[in-house]
Symmetry: C2
Subunit: 248 residues, 2 copies
DNA sequence: CCGCGACCTTGACCCAGATCAAGAGAACTT
DNA sequence: AAGTTCTCTTGATCTGGGTCAAGGTCGCGG
């Protein structure tokens, strides 16, 4: 659902009917057009749970605005975020009846949903869509495996730098500023959410962010507004060589 | 590529043309039949690298026998295994020109390969196959995310128990012994490979295996032959409730 | 039979990150 | 404006697992 590796921008609507109406005003006619009546928008507030793991899931859809997360929880309360859902990311799995993870709105979000049965019918009629879904799922798989390296082998500092890189990159693809080399964005996650994503505690997240600030790798205004003066430096800190890794 | 979550046995050939000739002698006529000439078998010895990350990859295929692994490596040598390829698991990604990870033969392996271009042509002609591939990719994605929880939040002991559970389960689905409740199998991985999969060092792996043996959770004969007297106990040690988690 | 190399085990010590604890901002209610 | 709550920071201390080091076991080739 997240698409860090390829970083496909959200507006490639011609070849991406799924993302169509959810994010792109340009597209006016499409297969999905015929689906009106089975398509609906839905809003959730920050902190609300969209679906609980194990629940019946009778829709698929994509995030229009805001950020949601996929989370797994153990009985004793330990939690691990397994995916970030940014605008244009797809939610739900054709052919599966129930949700495998909790989906939680991290900020206020709007989702564009399709009832699952008709969507699946359309998938069978329209091979194009199945192909596109396969493509997207492979992207998600790459992102998940990239993240396994982060979780298994990187230090806390590298983990933070990796996360900031990904967010910076996603943000940059939306708000391109070709004139200036520095990248500015707002962190869409609390320290706790970052910790859940990185397999750390929130205290460690806080300390490492402070350390990166102290070392001039990033600058902070308030708690959430981040400036990255030198992206190459941040990538080095993430343990990726500048042109490989997450940005390949 | 690995399929821990659903644990689909390797012989569902009627609905799984991809696995067809690679693993199942029953299937005699199929789309893939027509592909002879573009299909070939290949052997690798334990330790050999099948493909290097970044290399051009002009085939797809599946593992017939033996075990291979998908591995990522950082410049400084830290490595993380991101997938285990057991017999019947699929390798390669339609639509991608290069390999994203190193594929290494962990034991001697035989692979059944198809040249990629004709395979992709067939995929377009045969929607059935695209659907099946999507299904398999979703399974892999689930397995990868399951593993993110293991890497991010579990203790060393839980990690070992999780890995043993997965191997026991895969093995059990092949060599079902309905008469006895205890499960017996040979570890197909060195301590170092286990460490790379679990995000640990080989010393910690060794210590935790010793601890599980001392506590009667498993029994060892030699270094590789494992007996699990009580699977429920092992699952508890893995931090999964007995009927949830990896075995869901 | 011996020596060698691959694999594994165990011990001693150390450190990155967890845990526990205290408090500071900032955005709300009332 | 004062309280409340949510979020974040920072300090002090503890510990799980990493690191370094020293064998042990087994299979293989000479």
């Amino acid at each position: 659902m997240l698409n860090e590796r390829t970083g496909v921008p959200p507006h490639d609507c011609e070849e991406c009917p799924i993302r169509h109406r959810a994010v792109c005003a340009r597209c006016e006619s499409d297969e999905l057009e015929q689906l009106d009546g089975i398509k609906y928008y839905r809003k959730y507030e920050a902190g609300q749970t969209v679906i609980w793991s194990g629940d019946r899931m009778d829709f698929v859809g994509s995030v229009v605005s805001g950020i949601a997360s996929l989370t797994q929880t153990m009985e004793d309360g330990r939690t691990q975020m397994v995916g970030l859902l940014l605008p244009s990311d797809f939610v739900g799995r054709p052919g599966r009846a129930t949700a495998a993870y909790d989906v939680v709105a991290t900020t206020d979000i709007v989702m564009c949903c399709f009832r699952k049965a008709p969507f699946e019918e359309m998938m069978v009629r329209t091979p194009h869509i199945a192909q596109r879904l396969l493509e997207m799922t492979l992207d998600e798989l790459d992102a998940a495996r990239e993240w396994m390296l982060v979780l298994g082998r990187k230090t806390a500092r590298e983990k933070i730098a990796s996360l900031l890189s990904i967010i910076a990159r996603r943000d940059a693809s939306v708000n391109a500023r070709p004139d200036k080399s520095e990248i500015v964005f707002d962190l869409p996650l609390t320290r706790e959410a970052m910790a859940d994503y990185l397999g750390l505690t929130l205290e460690t997240v806080s300390r490492q962010i402070s350390a990166l600030r102290k070392d001039g790798v990033i600058a902070l205004e308030g708690k959430r507004h981040v400036t990255v003066p030198d992206m190459t430096r941040l990538l080095e800190e993430a343990g990726d060589d500048a042109d490989g890794g997450v940005f390949a």
